[in-house]
Amino acid sequence: MILGIPITGETVAFFLLSLLIISSGVMVMSLTKVMHTALALGGVFLGVAGIFILLGADFVGVVQILIYAGAITILMVFALMLTQKGDDTGYPGPGKRSFFTLLGVAAFCALLLFVIRGTSWPVATTKVDPFPQPSIVMIAQSLFHTYTVPFELVTLILTAALVGAVVIARKEE
């Protein structure tokens, strides 16, 4: 028991992943070299994926690793490199406004944390295994029964985004 929390495998994993996510996040904000930033970003995404898996959402966790840690991070690195002037990101550090922003963000987070603490969350009345079957089956059922239309819409959006991205990024002739 540390601070009223039982020390189990779960909690240990949670704390380690949290540490990874938060420290990587802070590093994304503070590092200036491109590659360092990209690495830190990968850390954040991986940590989040770990949390997902910890919560039994293995499929989403895998998707997270594939899309975020894989695709998006690489994309970002490319973009950073394409637009880079010199070695570092080359932008001035925090100014006076950053301080106020920090204050505002801190207040916001504090409020939310306070609310999270103050709320009495409903707890499952019957303690059953959360997921009696593999999550991927459930997701598939949900996605192709309940959420068929949104799912199709998302594909549309993705297509539109693809076309849009091409059109926008294309060189003007």
């Binding site: 994309l75 920090l102 459930m138 959006i157």
Partner: protein, 101 residues
């Protein structure tokens, strides 16, 4: 494990992302920060899905949707960024001010 630690983690990650989105001068870092905020919300969704009164997969499905939308957003965002960079030869947020007054 309880719900609250996960929510707290989400809030903190969201705060970091928000701070980055509001202060960073580099447009790409801003985009990255936004991705982090989306991740924070995904943590929430998955956590609620896991700790719901009757656990179900809805939260996971929403998280998947979120990821899909985020991917689209990154694609379009980066495209805009590239077009902008070509136009102004800069990726500074402060140069994106054509909508002023």
């Amino acid at each position: 494990m309880a719900l609250q630690p996960f929510l707290a983690l989400g809030v903190i990650l969201f705060g970091i992302g928000l701070y980055g989105a509001l202060t960073k001068r580099n447009l790409i870092i801003v985009l990255i920060s936004i991705e982090m905020m989306l991740n924070a919300s995904n943590i929430n969704l998955i956590a609620f899905s896991h700790f719901a009164v009757t656990p179900n997969a809805n939260g996971q499905v929403f998280a998947l949707f979120n990821i899909a939308i985020a991917a689209a957003e990154v694609a379009v965002g980066l495209a805009i960024l590239l077009a902008f960079f070509r136009l102004r030869n800069s990726a500074d947020v402060r140069d994106v001010n054509t909508m002023k007054w």
